[in-house]
């Protein structure tokens, strides 16, 4: 019995021991599980933190891109595929209807032909490792608005084991407005320099014009008494020949009269003088016009006789229009003086006049032949004045009419027109004079531009 009891006890003890072992193992598992759970929780927390940070980062990036109105690009150099952000597409006029292909070729195809070279060069420099960042300004074609100037910045962000670039990314900014201002500034600096030179040249020319004119006037003054004197030569010579005077003298007199071609001289001398005077007068007028046109402005609005200013510009630009058109003026003689920045006004009239000549040239080179007409008129209209410039040229096609005042918009061949004339005219008239500029155009009939300026400056 004892044995049985002992056996039982042993059995129990071993069972207890086993259970204790199991319990311990269980406890160990539990603690391991706790540890694991802690770890998981910690990892989860880290993940959440990371996710939040990521989200914040993305949000910040979005804010930056949105605020700067910049677009974002990400380019896989191995496949050529690219990510263009919606803003980038929007910048170039792509959106709901037209889609910008998510491929690098879609971009390079839009680059202005004149800008392809330097853009490619800058890119080559960058991938070769000569520049740490790629930065380049070029023009991209907008779906409807001509050319947009963009600033592209970015860098290669991944290279393979051989160092070949695999991925590049960066931002793109629309800098068209800044470019326009830069061009305006450059233009005005250039005009200022040219103006100063021209003013100096007119000064140099005015002195010789003064004395050439004076001398020719003198010749005209003495021409009449001299002609009267020459009239007496023939009878005097005949009288001399028939007289008892020195026959040698009579012969010499005759020879001198023949040598001087006296009849021709009598007829042509006054004409030569008159025509020279006309020429000097003409040169004087051109130089005076040039002096006024180039006259450095004072940077403030002064009262200007617009009729006179326009007349001056027509004289200056004569070479631009004389072969294609006749210029007719229809000035209001009672036009009041208008407060304006004379340099800018002259530039606007010059641009419109040149555009009118080009429009006519375009039409007559199409075979219609003959010269066209440019009519420039002025009239008072209440508290403003209106200047109109009408040409009988080719007219502006319907499709372009809404865009002609856009900066860098041109229908002329690449490298010919800069697309700035009308845009500059627009900002000069509207922004700096508080005026208006508009036009009326009919294809094959012609275009009329209307410029309206307030008479007085607001004080």
């Amino acid at each position: 019995m004892k044995n049985t009891i002992d056996e039982r006890e042993d059995q129990l003890q071993s069972e207890v021991a086993q259970r204790q072992e199991v319990e311990q193992e269980l406890l160990r598992y539990i603690s391991e599980m706790d540890e694991a759970r802690d770890r998981v929780e910690r990892q989860a927390a880290t993940l959440i933190e990371q996710a939040e940070a990521l989200h914040q980062g993305k949000e910040r990036l979005d804010i930056v891109l949105q605020g700067s109105k910049d677009g974002f690009w990400d380019w896989n150099l191995r496949t050529g595929s690219a990510y263009f952000s919606p803003r980038l597409a929007e910048m170039l006029g792509y959106g709901d209807e037209t889609v910008l292909d998510q491929h690098i070729g879609a971009w390079t195809n839009l680059i202005h032909p004149d800008d392809r070279g330097h853009t490619l060069d800058a890119w080559k420099q960058h991938i070769a490792g000569h520049t740490t960042r790629f930065e380049n300004e070029h023009r991209l074609r907008h779906t409807t608005e001509g050319w947009k100037w963009v600033l592209v910045r970015g860098q290669v962000v991944e290279r393979d084991a051989n160092g070949s670039p695999r991925r590049a990314a960066g931002v793109i900014s629309d800098v068209t407005d800044r470019k326009r201002l830069e061009t305006e500034l450059r233009q005005s600096q250039k005009l200022e320099a040219v103006g100063q030179l021209a003013a100096g040249i007119t000064h140099e020319l005015n002195t010789p014009i003064q004395y050439i004119g004076g001398n020719v006037q003198f010749l005209r003054d003495i021409c009449r008494p001299l002609a009267a004197l020459l009239e007496l030569c023939d009878p005097a010579q005949e009288a001399l020949a028939g007289s008892s005077a020195d026959p040698m003298l009579a012969d010499r007199f005759k020879a001198a009269i023949d040598a001087a071609d006296l009849n021709y001289l009598r007829a042509e001398m006054p004409r030569a003088i008159e025509e020279s005077l006309e020429g000097v007068d003409r040169v004087g007028k051109i130089v005076r016009a040039l002096k006024e046109f180039a006259h450095p402005g004072q940077g403030e609005k002064v009262a200007v006789d617009l009729n006179h200013a326009i007349e001056t510009t027509i004289t200056i630009a004569r070479n631009e229009w004389r072969y294609v058109a006749d210029v007719v003026t229809a000035f209001d003689p009672e036009l009041p003086p208008v407060a304006c920045l004379i340099d800018e006004f002259n530039q606007v009239i010059l641009n419109l006049l040149i555009n009118a000549s080009h429009a006519i040239e375009e039409k007559i080179s199409g075979g219609s032949g003959g010269k066209g007409t440019i009519t420039i008129g002025t009239r008072s209209a209440g508290d403003s004045v209106e200047i109109w410039i009408q040409d009988t040229g080719a007219g502006i096609p319907e499709a372009f009419r809404s865009r002609i005042f856009e900066p860098f918009f041109t229908t002329k061949k690449v490298g010919k027109g800069t697309g700035q004339g009308l845009s500059l005219a627009h900002s000069a008239i509207v922004r700096r004079h508080g005026g208006q500029i508009r036009f009326d155009s009919h294809v094959d009939v012609g275009t009329t531009f209307f410029v309206r300026l307030p008479i007085a400056t607001a004080e």
Partner: protein, 368 residues
């Protein structure tokens, strides 16, 4: 007796050309030619000239500088700059010393048209003394109040063109000088004379007006205390006459240029009094008193004691400074009364206005 005229230019071809061009004037003008500033200086030291016509830009002494000497050595001479010049600095300097500025190329008619009338107005001035004193003047004094107003307005951050013009138009001295400058060849590209002060200010621009007032010394203040009340009164009378002349000329339906000439003549008709007050100071005060006490027209007393009337002197100054002939003519004849006329000019409008003023005040003294 021919007038003696000196032409100065550093380019001998220019002088020869001028000489030949002006050959038809040989009976009226005795012309001399100086090739450059130094030669001109020697010439004016040696003999006297009625007119000096000088180029601006010359290597040794430039035109403005030469004329500055001329004011000292030969104050009586009429001083003209004839230049192809186009810089503001030089132009501002020349308006300080020259009576008139003309631009090259300049035809004979332009020269004779400027010199002839001025010299003709010199003849009625009895003695040399007055001719000298008037030719010598480079500015006319302004009422101190108006002058200070102008400086204050021009020194505000955003001066108003309108206010500036109003202040200048309220003062005889400043109006005269402003019209002289605005009509000098350099500032009047369109060659049309303006008599409207507002237009003249806008034509020059406030920047130039500021330079004239502040640095070029074109305007200065009347400084004889004793005559200050007289000058104030003169100003009120002048402005009233200007306004009435404008009303009369407008009511007669005259053309715009005649209206402008009439109202300018109205403002400036007594400018000779200001000239006398500036030249003679207290001595002119005695003449004013005498005319009042003895009830004799002022111009008669002026002629007796000074050799010329204020009408003569005013007309000479304005002709010298290049104001248009209708204005000069009206000023010269403002004491005459030709009675009712069928055709109106600045002269007859002014006479009509002054006649009405005399009738209204019921007196015939003081030439008003």
């Amino acid at each position: 007796m021919p007038q003696h005229i000196l032409f100065v230019d550093d380019n001998p071809l220019m002088l020869a050309g001028l000489g030949r061009m002006l050959r038809p004037m040989r009976h009226e003008w005795d012309m001399a030619f100086a090739p450059g500033g130094a030669a001109a200086l020697a010439a004016i030291e040696a003999s006297s000239y009625d007119v000096i016509v000088s180029d601006m830009r010359m290597p040794d002494i430039d035109g403005a500088e030469l004329l500055r000497y001329a004011i000292r050595i030969q104050p009586r001479a009429m001083r003209i700059i004839l230049s192809g010049q186009a810089s503001y600095g030089a132009s501002l300097r020349s308006v300080q010393t020259a009576h008139q500025c003309l631009s090259k190329p300049c035809e004979m008619a332009m020269l004779t048209g400027k010199i002839g009338p001025a010299l003709a107005r010199r003849a009625p001035l009895g003695g040399e003394e007055i001719a000298v004193a008037v030719s010598e003047m480079t500015t006319l004094p302004s009422r101190p109040e108006a002058h200070r107003h102008l400086l204050a307005e021009l020194q505000t951050p955003n001066p108003s063109t309108h206010h500036t013009a109003e202040i200048i138009a309220s003062d005889l001295g400043m109006t005269c000088k402003l019209l002289q400058v605005a009509n000098s060849a350099f500032f009047s590209n369109d060659r049309r004379q303006t008599l409207d002060v507002g237009h003249a200010v806008r034509r020059l621009g406030l920047d130039i007006v500021r330079q004239l007032a502040v640095s070029a010394g074109a305007f200065n203040e009347f400084d004889c205390q004793e005559l200050l009340p007289f000058v104030e009164e003169l100003s009120i009378h002048s402005i009233e006459t200007r306004d009435r002349s404008e009303v009369v000329a407008t009511s007669k339906g005259l053309a715009r240029p005649i209206i402008e000439a009439a109202s300018t003549a109205g403002l400036l008709h007594d400018v000779g009094k200001l000239v006398f007050a500036a030249i003679y100071g207290p001595r002119y005060g005695q003449i004013l008193r005498r005319a009042r006490e003895e009830q004799v027209p002022l111009w008669c007393v002026e002629r007796d004691h000074l050799g010329a009337s204020h009408a003569d002197v005013g007309a000479y100054l304005l002709a010298l400074w290049g104001l248009s002939e209708p204005v000069v003519d009206a000023v010269a004849h403002h004491h005459h009364d030709e009675g009712p006329v069928s055709e109106f000019s600045a002269r007859t409008v002014l006479q009509a206005v002054l006649r009405t003023q005399r009738l209204q005040s019921g007196q015939h003294i003081n030439g008003k």
